[in-house]
C-alpha cells in the first residue's frame, strides 16, 4: 500500500510568505506546486519531507501574461491552463499543443509548469520545448530575483540550479518573431515520452533561414541541443543537410537501456523523431 509519512503543510498566501518559509525550512521542506510528481515520489517512499510548502495559493505565481515581447507564465500555472490559454495559442501555439499532450487530463489539471521544471524528471515534455524556445526560468530568493535559461536551470535527472531557499516564480518565454515556427514531436513506448524533439526555426518555403534550434528531450538526463548548422540556409529536402543533423542528434544522445527501450533503439528513435520534427516544421502535414 502506498502511504505518505506525516508532514506539516504550509499554505502561504503570498510569494513573500512562501519565500520566508523557504528560507526558514531549507532542505527540510519541499515545494508542493501540483503534486503530480512529488506526491507519487512521497507515496513510494522515494522522497520524504517534514514540511510541504503549497505555493498554489500565492496569486503572484499564477497566470499567463504578455510582457514586453515575452510570455510570462506563473510557476503555479497548470498544464491545463496552458493548454487552454488563448494567449498561448496565439503567441506560442507549439507550446500550447505540447501542453495538450502532457500525460493525461488529470495530471494536466493538477500539475504545474514550475513544478514540472523544478522536479526535473527527465522523461518530460516541456523542458526540451522551453529550451528550444530560449525560455528562462525566473527564480526568487532572499537575494532577490534572478533568471536562468532553462537549459542552465535543469542540471540532470531530478537536479536543478534551484537553491534550497529559492522558488521558481515564473517561466519567461520570448515570443518568436514573425516567420519563426516551432514544433514538438514525441514518441512514447510506455507512459512517459521515450524521445521528444523540439525544433524552432525561421522557415521560408521549405528552407531554414538560419540553423534551427533542435533540442532532444527525454532521452538523456536533461534536454540536449543538437548542432543544426548544416541546415542553415538549406532546404529540408536537402537530404545531406537533413541527415547530417539527424546524425548529429543520434551521436549526441547517450541513452540507457530501460523498460522503455534499449539504448540502441532510443538512439535510432532520436534520429527518426528529429527528422520528423524538422520535416514537420516545414510541412505540418507530414507524418508524425
Amino acid at each position: 500500500m502506498l502511504i505518505l509519512s506525516d508532514f506539516r503543510l504550509h499554505r502561504p498566501a503570498s510569494l513573500a510568505d512562501a519565500l520566508l518559509l523557504r528560507a526558514e525550512l531549507g532542505d527540510e521542506g519541499a515545494v508542493y506546486a501540483g503534486g503530480t510528481e512529488l506526491l507519487l515520489a512521497l507515496k513510494m517512499g522515494v522522497l520524504e519531507y517534514e514540511h510541504l510548502i503549497d505555493i498554489k495559493r500565492c496569486p503572484e505565481l499564477r497566470g499567463v501574461q504578455q510582457v514586453d515581447g515575452t510570455v510570462r507564465i506563473g510557476a503555479a500555472t497548470t498544464h491545463r491552463d496552458l493548454e487552454t490559454s488563448p494567449l498561448l495559442a496565439r503567441l506560442l501555439p507549439a507550446l500550447a499543443e505540447l501542453e495538450r499532450h502532457v500525460a493525461n487530463i488529470r495530471v494536466r489539471a493538477a500539475g504545474t509548469i514550475g513544478g514540472n521544471l523544478a522536479f526535473a524528471e527527465p522523461h518530460a515534455d516541456p523542458p526540451a520545448m522551453l529550451t528550444a524556445l530560449d525560455a528562462r526560468v525566473e527564480l526568487a530568493g532572499p537575494a532577490g530575483v534572478r533568471e536562468l535559461p532553462v537549459e542552465d536551470f535543469v542540471l540532470g535527472a531530478y537536479e536543478t540550479a534551484l537553491g534550497d531557499d529559492e522558488l521558481v516564480t515564473a517561466v519567461v518565454v520570448p515570443v518568436p518573431p514573425a516567420g519563426v515556427r516551432a514544433t514538438y514531436r514525441k514518441l512514447a513506448t510506455l507512459e512517459r515520452p521515450t524521445v521528444g524533439v523540439a525544433v524552432m526555426g525561421e522557415v521560408a518555403g521549405d528552407t531554414f533561414a538560419t540553423a534551427p534550434a533542435v533540442v532532444v528531450g527525454a532521452v538523456d538526463e536533461r534536454p540536449l541541443r543538437v548542432d543544426a548548422t548544416p541546415l542553415a540556409g538549406a532546404s529540408v529536402r536537402d537530404r545531406d543537410a537533413l541527415e547530417a543533423v539527424v546524425e548529429a542528434a543520434r551521436d549526441l544522445v547517450d541513452p540507457v537501456d530501460d523498460l522503455s527501450g534499449s539504448a540502441d533503439y532510443k538512439r535510432h528513435l532520436t534520429g527518426v523523431v528529429t527528422r520528423r520534427a524538422l520535416e514537420h516544421i516545414v510541412d505540418p502535414g507530414s507524418p508524425s
Partner: protein, 757 residues
C-alpha cells in the same frame, strides 16, 4: 430471432447498470464490518532464501498495532492452500520462494498504521540459489525448489495432467496419436520454429481484497473471489472447519478474467481474524496484486508437417511454461495448453508435451484464454508460414484442414459443435482478405478451439414468491460479464415472467447452492442449464399444488406464461400460491447439472475463436497501429447480444494488449515493472477505428436455447493474428510477443524477405 423467445435473445439492459453508473454498486472493497481492522503483508525481498528469523517486536510495539502474524505464530495451523496441490503457504513458512511473497501480516487499527508498522518488521534471511528462468530450472544442476513435494489432492474434476514429476517439474501433460516421425519424414514441408508468449498480469482493476471474521464459530469472508466454493474448501481445510461453517460472500467484483480464480488473500484476512479476534480486511495494492498471481509464460518449440497441397500431416509441440513458485492452477493450464495448441484441425499425427516448471517468480495461475493464446501463437503462425512457403492462400490452407461440425479434434472428446469453416469465411471476408492492401499494412487472422466449461457441476435454486415473482440463487459470481442479467433472462423466459420480476442473488456459499467455478465460459451454459432445470422443477411444483388445490389430476394442469391453466382456467402464479398456502409462502425448485448423460462427454462445449486484425506498421519506429478488428462470436445463441458484443470486444482488446505491449519483466530476481505505469494495458486510443463484432447463432451448443460460451474465444487467436498481420506488413513473421515498437523495429531490420523459421 424466432419469436417464441420473449426475453432470451434480446438485449435487455444490464440489471447491474444503474447501480454501477451511480457508483453505488458495492464491491468487496466498499464494504465495512463493525470493528474491522486492517492487515498489511510484509513481503520478501529475496527470491529464494531460508527465513532465519523474523523480528516483529518493533512492529508490535508500534501505535495501533494489534498483532504481527507469521506462519510460526499461528502453529499448529497449516497455512498452506491450493486446489491442485496444497503447497502454497499464505505466509512463508521456513523459506521464501519469490520476491514479493508474504512473510508476515501486520494487523492494526488503520491501514496507515499497519503499513507503517510493516516497515519495522525485520526478516533475516539465509540466501539460497534462485532460478528465475524456466529453461534453467529444468537443468539437472538447478536448485530444487520443492524438495518435499506435496502430493496432489486428486480432485477428479481437474484436468491436471499426470506423469511422475521430478526436479522442478510442476506438471507435465502429453497428448498424442499417430506416427509423427514417419509423417514428418514424408512431409513436403516441415515448418519449424520457436515461439514465446509473455507472462501477463490480468489487471482486474479492483485488486484482490477480503474481509474475514469469525462469527459464532463460522468463518465469514467477503472477498473478490471468482470461485467462492473453491476458496471455501481451502479455508475449511486450513481452519479445520466443516464446509457449512465457512461462508464466502462475493458482492460485485471489479474484473476477474480468471485472475481471481481460486484462493488469493482470503487466508491472510482469515489468519488475521483468527489471531486478533477482530474482523480483518486485507486489501492489496495493484503492485501487491502483481506479486500475487500472473499467467504462465510459454516457450514453444513447434514443428508442423504438410503435404504440398497444404494437408497437415503431423504436428509436434514441446512447450515449457514458466509457472512460478507454487503449483496453483498451472497444471490445469498445462493440460489445456496441450489440448489447444494444435488447433481445430484434422491432424493424423500429433505429439505434444507441455511442461510446467517451478521458478522463483510470482506464482502463475489462470488468465482468460488458459493456454489457448500461448498455443495458438505457434500453432496458427505455422499455418501462416506454411501457406506462404507453399504459396497457398492461408484461408484455403486452413479450410483444407479445419474440422467439420461434429468431427473430433481430440480422441474420445466431444466433437466440435461449431462450423469453423464458415466462421473463417465470414472473418476473412470482413477483413478484406484477398483484396488490395496499402503498403505497410497487413492482415492477420486465426482460429482456435478450446475445451471449455470446466467440470460440469452446478446446482441452482429458484424460489417462486407469493406475488408471482421469482428469485434465483446460484453460486456464480458477477464479474462484469453480465451473468446476473443473462441468468435473469433465462429464468424469466422459462417461467414466462417479465424480466423485471426476476432477481438473482449474489454468490454466498452460506446461501446460494454449490457452483464449482465461474470461469471457462460456464456460467451462461452450465449454470443456465441448472437454472433451467430448477425452473422446470418449480413449474412442476406449481402444477402439482394447483392440481391438488383444484382436485384434478396433475395432467389437467398445463403451463402458461407466468401461470398455469387448470381445466381451461388461467391461474397466475400468485393465485396458485395463495390458494395453496392461504397466506405468504413460496415454492422452491432445484436443478442440477453433473457429469452424466448429455454432460458425460467432455468438454461440455467447445469455445471457438475466429478473430483477426488489419494493422499498420511504421517500420521506422516499429509502432503498430491496429486499424481493424473483427471477431466472430460463434456462440450458439446470444442470450443478450449487446452483452456478447461487450465480451468479444473486451476479450479481443485484452488480446491486443498481450500482442502489443503487455509483459511482466524480471530484472534479476525481482519484477521490473510491478505497476501499471510500466506495464502498459490498452487505452482508449488503441481501439481500432473499424470494429466488426459478428455473431453466429446456430443454436448448436449444449447451453440453454443452444448457447455456448463467450468471452475467451475472441481473445485466443488475437496474439497470433497480430503477429501474422505484422509479419505480412514487414515481410517477416514475428515469433515473440508482445510486439513492442522496439521488437518490431528490430525484426524489420532483420528482414530477409522470406519467412524466418
Amino acid at each position: 430471432m424466432p419469436d417464441e423467445l420473449k426475453v432470451v435473445g434480446h438485449s435487455v439492459p444490464r440489471v447491474d447498470g444503474p447501480a454501477k453508473v451511480t457508483g453505488r454498486a458495492p464491491y468487496a472493497l466498499d464494504l465495512t464490518v463493525p470493528g474491522m481492522v486492517h492487515g498489511i503483508a510484509v513481503r520478501s525481498e529475496r527470491a529464494h532464501a531460508r527465513i532465519v528469523s523474523i523480528d516483529v517486536e518493533a512492529a508490535e510495539a508500534a501505535p495501533e498495532v494489534l498483532a504481527v502474524v507469521t506462519a510460526a505464530s499461528v502453529a499448529p495451523l497449516d497455512v498452506r492452500f491450493g486446489h491442485v496441490a496444497r503447497d502454497h503457504p499464505a505466509l512463508a513458512c521456513d523459506r521464501v520462494m519469490y520476491h514479493g511473497e508474504p512473510v508476515a501480516l501486520v494487523v492494526a487499527r488503520t491501514p496507515r498504521a499497519a503499513a507503517r508498522a510493516a516497515r519495522l518488521v525485520r526478516v533475516h534471511y539465509d540466501e539460497l540459489d534462485a532460478v528465475i528462468d524456466a529453461e534453467t530450472a529444468l537443468q539437472d544442476d538447478a536448485p530444487l525448489l520443492h524438495p518435499d513435494r506435496v502430493a496432489p489432492l486428486g480432485d477428479a474434476g481437474l484436468d491436471a495432467g499426470a506423469a511422475d514429476l521430478t526436479g522442478n517439474l510442476c506438471a507435465e501433460s502429453t497428448v498424442g496419436w499417430g506416427d509423427v516421425d514417419t509423417a514428418m519424414a514424408a512431409a513436403d514441408l516441415v515448418v519449424e520454429g520457436e515461439y514465446r508468449y509473455p507472462m501477463l498480469y490480468g489487471y482486474a482493476m479492483e485488486p484482490y481484497n477480503a474481509i474475514a471474521s469469525f462469527e459464532e464459530g463460522t468463518l465469514v469472508v467477503h472477498s473478490t473471489a471468482q470461485h467462492p466454493y473453491m476458496v471455501r474448501e481451502d479455508l475449511a481445510r486450513m481452519f479445520g472447519l466443516p464446509l457449512a461453517r465457512v461462508r464466502v460472500v462475493v458482492p460485485y467484483v471489479g474484473g476477474g478474467y480468471g485472475t481471481k480464480s481460486y484462493t488469493k488473500v482470503e487466508p491472510l484476512a482469515a489468519l488475521g481474524a483468527w489471531v486478533t479476534g477482530h474482523p480483518v480486511r486485507v486489501a492489496l495494492s495493484v503492485e501487491e496484486a502483481m506479486l500475487t498471481t500472473r499467467s504462465d509464460g510459454a516457450h514453444i518449440r513447434a514443428r508442423s508437417g504438410f503435404a504440398a497441397d497444404g494437408t497437415l500431416l503431423a504436428r509436434e509441440f514441446d512447450v515449457v511454461m514458466d509457472s512460478g513458485a507454487y503449483t496453483d492452477n498451472s497444471p490445469v493450464v498445462c493440460a489445456k495448453l496441450a489440448n489447444r495448441c494444435f488447433g481445430p484441425y484434422r491432424v493424423p499425427a500429433v505429439r505434444v508435451r507441455v511442461r510446467s516448471v517451478f521458478t522463483n517468480t510470482v506464482p502463475a495461475s489462470s488468465l482468460r484464454g488458459f493456454g489457448a493464446p500461448q498455443g495458438a501463437l505457434a500453432g496458427e503462425l505455422q499455418m501462416d508460414e506454411a501457406a506462404q512457403r507453399l504459396s497457398i492462400d492461408p484461408v484455403d490452407l486452413r479450410l483444407r484442414n479445419v474440422v467439420a461440425p461434429g468431427e473430433e479434434i481430440l480422441p474420445r472428446k466431444r466433437g466440435i459443435d461449431a462450423d469453423l469453416a464458415e466462421d473463417l469465411r465470414m472473418l476473412t471476408g470482413s477483413l478484406g482478405w484477398g483484396g488490395p492492401s496499402a503498403p505497410g499494412t497487413g492482415i492477420g487472422f486465426g482460429l482456435t478451439a478450446s475445451d471449455a466449461g470446466a467440470h460440469p457441476t452446478s446446482v441452482a435454486m429458484v424460489r417462486l414468491h407469493a406475488d408471482g415473482s421469482a428469485s434465483a440463487a446460484v453460486g456464480a459470481t458477477e464479474l462484469g460479464q453480465g451473468s446476473r442479467t443473462v441468468l435473469s433472462q433465462i429464468v424469466a423466459e422459462c417461467l414466462g415472467l417479465p424480466f423485471d420480476r426476476v432477481a438473482i442473488l449474489a454468490a454466498d456459499t452460506g446461501a446460494t447452492p454449490y457452483e464449482r467455478t465461474t470461469g471457462a465460459s460456464r456460467t451462461t451454459t452450465l449454470v443456465g442449464r441448472s437454472l433451467q432445470a430448477a425452473c422446470a422443477d418449480v413449474r412442476r411444483r406449481v402444477r402439482e399444488v394447483a392440481a391438488e388445490v383444484a382436485g384434478v389430476d396433475a395432467s389437467a394442469v398445463v403451463d402458461l406464461p407466468a401461470g398455469v391453466s387448470v381445466g381451461g382456467e388461467r391461474w397466475d402464479y400468485a393465485e396458485v400460491l395463495s390458494r395453496w398456502f392461504g397466506a405468504g409462502g413460496e415454492l422452491v425448485g432445484v436443478g442440477e447439472v453433473r457429469r452424466a448423460g448429455e454432460f458425460q462427454a467432455m468438454p461440455p462445449f467447445w469455445e471457438v475463436g475466429a478473430s483477426g486484425v488489419v494493422v499498420d506498421v511504421d517500420a521506422e519506429t516499429g509502432v503498430v497501429s491496429v486499424l481493424q478488428l473483427t471477431t466472430v462470436g460463434d456462440v450458439g445463441i446470444a442470450i443478450n447480444p449487446v452483452l456478447v458484443h461487450g465480451q468479444d470486444l473486451g476479450a479481443a482488446t485484452m488480446g491486443l494488449g498481450a500482442a502489443l505491449s503487455e509483459a511482466l519483466v524480471y530484472d534479476g530476481e525481482a519484477l521490473a515493472n510491478p505497476n501499471v505505469v510500466d506495464y502498459r494495458v490498452p487505452r482508449s486510443s488503441d481501439v481500432p477505428d473499424r470494429l466488426e463484432l459478428l455473431l453466429v447463432e446456430r443454436r448448436d451448443g449444449i447451453g440453454p436455447f443452444g448457447a455456448k460460451g463467450s468471452g475467451e474465444g475472441a481473445l485466443n487467436p488475437i496474439g497470433s493474428a497480430v503477429a501474422a498481420a505484422v509479419g505480412r506488413a514487414i515481410g517477416v513473421f514475428p515469433h515473440e510477443l508482445p510486439l513492442t515498437p522496439e521488437r518490431v523495429w528490430r525484426l524489420a531490420q532483420e528482414r530477409v524477405g522470406d519467412v524466418r523459421t
